[in-house]
Amino acid sequence: MSIENETFRPKIVAFCCNWCSYAGADLAGSSRLVYPADVKIIRVPCSCRVNPMFILRAFEKGADGVIMCGCHPGDCHYSTGNYYARRRMTLLFSMLDFIGVENGRTRVEWVSAAEGVKFSTTMNEFVEKITSLGPNVRLEDLRCRN
């Protein structure tokens, strides 16, 4: 593989809740539904375990996109976790938009344990989106001294 001609391959972190989305990703696997290897999944017990700091940290360390998947609202294994996660992520994403980080580098998708197809299509879409946005420089570079 030559370095010069290497096309941009994004680094993508996916936080998946253990009960629905991680199982959905497993189902995508057992159904052999292909999505790019750029996506790496981190298992968390619930979407409400995802601290906005984790997402910012990923960006800071060079991630180009971060996606969080959880149970559908109403189906949370812990009944209410994803409702809190939904508010947190809405506000965080809005703040990132406010400081000029491109829309679309972050995403939340509700994926049930039965939705292997949805998991796979979501990841394909997300990788495509991030690839089109190119490498993430803004979050890495927010405070560089001029």
């Binding site: 809190y84 508010r87 809405t90 703040m95 000029g100």
Partner: protein, 324 residues
């Protein structure tokens, strides 16, 4: 101002309170600072004028641990912070005797300097009995004048109102100072292109020297130990240009106080670099109001904050992209 001192002496004398929390004169006439007064004699140094912007509610966290009651002077906007601290069990209402003190808009010497006035020796016209229209500034280069309103802090132009949310008694008159829309600045930034937004914040945040003044003054940032000093997030380093906290500090700080910030504006007031830090907080407040209904932290001491609450049909995070 003298009536405040007199009342404080009375309350000390009859044993209602053990000490007084107020402001004392600083080295210049425009920089009074928060201070405890334990006796009538000490109260001779007490001041209260247009430069007493400091929000004393956060000091009540420590004062709540002391023996006896503390008399604290709270301006209308400070009372929101105090209520929020009651909600979070950080201050003890029983340990406080609150005099809700009137406010005619607080001043910033930076705003005066920004008008090209240099070599300031003293400033007159900032007292509670003055007319609040013109400040007379004695400088090395002669007397200058400046309109009171032009010298006011940004937060006073979008004042939340003259009512004290909590108090044992109220003294001195307040004045309407609101002459701007609270969210106008936020909206102006929202209207920018992503490139412009990014350039704006990159410029502002690049000034940050991580002095932590914003954190230290913020009544919502009252954690015993801040996550930025904690080993649990690997974020404890200071002033390292490539570190995590360096880039994300202000976003995370704003997120941590989201739903709890009363918009008291102290962060922007104390920033030595003049970064408009209140913009982060106010953006969250605006979003919370639009997405989840109007909410003013500190209006009461019971209700659930917007981030510890939800409805089944809250907006999805994708609204951020859809809004365009």
């Amino acid at each position: 101002m003298q009536e405040l001192v007199n009342r404080a002496k009375e309350l000390l004398a009859d044993g209602t309170v053990s000490r007084v929390l107020g402001w004392k004169a600083g080295d210049m006439s425009y920089n009074p600072e928060p201070a405890y007064f334990n006796s009538a004699e000490e109260l001779e140094n007490f001041v209260y004028d247009g430069f007493c912007g400091a929000n004393l509610s956060k000091y009540m966290i420590e004062a709540s641990k002391l023996e006896g009651k503390t008399l604290v002077f709270l301006k209308p906007c400070d009372t929101y912070s105090f209520n929020q601290l009651i909600k979070e069990h950080r201050v003890d209402r029983e340990k406080a005797y609150i005099i809700g003190v009137g406010c005619k808009g607080k001043l910033s010497v930076e705003n005066i300097k920004a008008q090209g006035i240099k070599g300031i020796e003293s400033i007159e016209g900032a007292g509670m009995n003055d007319g609040c229209d013109t400040l007379t500034i004695k400088t090395l280069y002669g007397d200058k004048t400046c309109s009171y309103n032009d010298a006011m802090l940004e937060r006073c132009h979008v004042c939340k109102g003259k009512e004290h949310q909590i108090s044992d008694e109220v003294m001195l008159e307040s004045r309407d100072t609101k002459d701007a829309e609270r969210f106008a600045q936020v909206e102006a930034i929202e209207a920018m292109t992503p490139e412009e937004k990014f350039a704006f914040f990159q410029k502002e945040l690049s000034k940050c020297i991580r002095c932590n003044a914003c954190r230290n003054v913020c009544p919502a940032c009252s954690c015993r130990k801040c996550v930025f000093d904690s080993t649990k997030y690997d974020t404890a380093q200071k002033a390292n240009v490539t570190s995590f906290e360096e880039k994300m500090f202000h976003i995370i700080r704003a997120f941590h106080v989201a739903g709890r910030c009363t918009d008291c504006g102290e962060c922007s007031r104390v920033c030595p670099q003049g970064i408009p830090l209140h913009l982060f907080n106010r953006k969250f407040i605006k979003d919370i109001d639009t997405f989840y209904g109007e909410f003013q932290a500190g209006e009461d001491t019971e209700s659930r904050g917007p981030l510890t609450n939800f409805t089944f049909d809250d907006v999805e995070p994708s609204i951020v992209g859809e809004r365009g």
